[in-house]
Symmetry: C2
Subunit: 350 residues, 2 copies
């Protein structure tokens, strides 16, 4: 069934009246063919609907001009990243194929890289998790670039500066006069979550603000966890005037809880998120947040991979791209009255 109907290079060559190698050279734009013959061959190949067989190309060790991507499709932004990466790849005359990693798959992606190795010229792994097993595949024998890995990645990697972003978020709140600032964390399995938490604590310390464990509530990046975390925070006798949520989804969860408690955002409590998801600029209130440099990450990762494929032995680079504070409606100056109260409390706390 499904008999072959696509012509092979040999058939094209025969019709063009040249040898197989001449045809190969013409089609791959390599020297050693006279201009007229080259044009002839290309025309005939086109007429015959010739499509180079990438499986055969790969088998001979040549490039397939395909890059493989391993990603968890359900992670926020993954699709944005992929779209960006696809565009960059296509601009370089590469195609991109994505392997959708099942959520929380315990199977080492080793076997997936093994598969992609046979098809693609290089692989980009988008794994928000710090994966020990990734290290076990340094012998992949194919260029690999990771996105969002921990800094200790064994491969060249591209990542957003979560720490810097977290710092910017907290400083923004502090500049607005807030002193009692809560943090709703993300899933600490993720490097990004840990970096944001670290930023919270560090900036707090830098600003000589007291660290109150009650203000640091565990979440998991989901809306619901933000909601529940905020409920806990609101139940405190001495509740925060601002909340830094580790991502936008949990920020919106927190906002929902705050409103349900009869309070207003940002008048009673300021909320800042992280990510700048698309609806952050649409939902009310528009969310103040930290924007991830997705386009730059896409561009950088693909370009880095293409460089590796081209044989440029790029030193095991770690590209860290800056994030950006986007101020919208969900944060505001701490009211003078409140600030005074807070100020007193803080001094007492010291």
């Amino acid at each position: 069934m499904m008999k072959r109907q696509y012509p092979t290079l040999a058939e094209v060559a025969k019709v063009a009246g040249v040898s197989l190698m001449t045809a190969s050279r013409a089609i791959n734009n390599r020297p050693g063919v006279s201009p007229e013959k080259r044009e002839d061959i290309l025309r005939i190949a086109d007429e015959m609907g010739y499509v180079a067989n990438r499986a055969a190309q790969k088998l001979t060790g040549a490039r397939t001009r395909i890059i493989g991507v391993v990603a968890e499709l359900h992670t926020p932004f993954t699709s944005d990243l992929l779209l960006g990466m696809g565009a960059v790849a296509r601009a370089a005359d590469y195609e991109m194929l994505v392997y959708s990693l099942p959520v929380c798959d315990r199977r080492p992606p080793h076997s997936i890289i093994d598969m992609l190795r046979q098809i693609a010229d290089g692989v980009i792994v988008i794994l928000p998790y710090e994966s020990d097993y990734l290290e076990s595949m340094t012998t992949a024998h194919i260029p690999v670039v990771t996105i969002e890995q921990g800094v200790e990645s064994a491969f060249p990697s591209v990542t957003a500066d979560n720490y810097q972003g977290g710092c910017a978020a907290l400083r923004h709140l502090i500049e607005l006069g807030h002193r009692r600032i809560a943090f709703i964390s993300g899933n600490d399995r993720l490097t990004s979550a840990r970096d944001r938490r670290r930023a919270y604590r560090d900036v707090l310390a830098q600003a000589r603000l007291p660290y109150d464990p009650n203000l640091e509530v565990d979440g998991d990046f989901l809306r619901k966890s933000g909601f529940e975390a905020a409920q806990k925070l609101l139940a405190l006798s001495d509740r925060p005037t601002a909340i830094f949520a580790a991502n936008d989804a949990s920020a919106y969860g927190a906002i929902a809880a705050i409103r349900e408690a009869g309070l207003r955002v940002p008048d009673d409590i300021s909320v800042i998120g992280f990510d700048d998801i698309p609806i952050a600029s649409q939902l009310h209130p528009q969310l103040t947040t930290i924007r991830q440099p997705l386009q730059q990450m896409a561009r950088a990762s693909v370009n880095l991979l293409l460089a590796l494929i081209a044989g440029l032995d790029a030193p095991s680079e770690q590209i860290v791209l800056p994030t950006q504070l986007i101020v919208r409606e969900s944060t505001t100056m701490l009211k003078a009255r409140k600030r005074k109260e807070e100020g007193e409390k803080v001094s007492v706390a010291r």
Copy 2:
């Protein structure tokens, strides 16, 4: 660079002290090998870290146990569909590779299928758009299944019953006593959008309710368009008591506009969406909507493709899967007073 280090079948065979074909048979679980030898070979292959080269397999015309998927990653649900499809494929010992189609790509996916054909055993195309060019590739010489295509698809296809879902949505509103029901459409380039619009008109006619062009506002499935459409509807002298939005995103947009106008959902206006996006059960108000049978679609499409790959010449099937009405908070009975008013108006209109 990147010297080969993965063993080939020949190397495994040599170590096992058998011929290449015997090793091939053992590894592919084919008859003609004694049980002891088979076990031996498998053990050795495992020890040596043997990974079958799919490019070589494909070249000989054998199966690669890979299915290709062409999808627009940004279309809502695509990632859910892909996740489901991946799970089904993996259960059948198949891997899945996704080609992310650029949004609004004018380039015929012909070339993409040509590429996937060299890698995969079959292809699933998720295209919400009715694509004329798809027809031009009936000569793909590889099994193809489409999802969400128009019924006139040249390939076996799997689709949600958008028409039936739209009917259910409208009947729900009518049963709640609503008579003046508006429709916010989706992008009519999409088959699904057209089917939902058709359902709106048909059920209106069936219920002998008057059709008012003013109540049918064009949208494009985005939140913003729902917002603007609702504003238009609210500006009508005789505004609707219920709105059927062609998808959840625009339903939430409409709700935002209604609230901004100082009205409440569902007390003043009922709103029903379509899709049952994840946050529909989380955002306030929880949205009454029509759930798409994503898991079933994933399962059906993969199984259909696998059947085609297995050579079962499934008659060019069109599998249409039923949707499900999910009643939540955003719709409610028309108030008795209002119903009376509306009833009068309707009789006058006749």
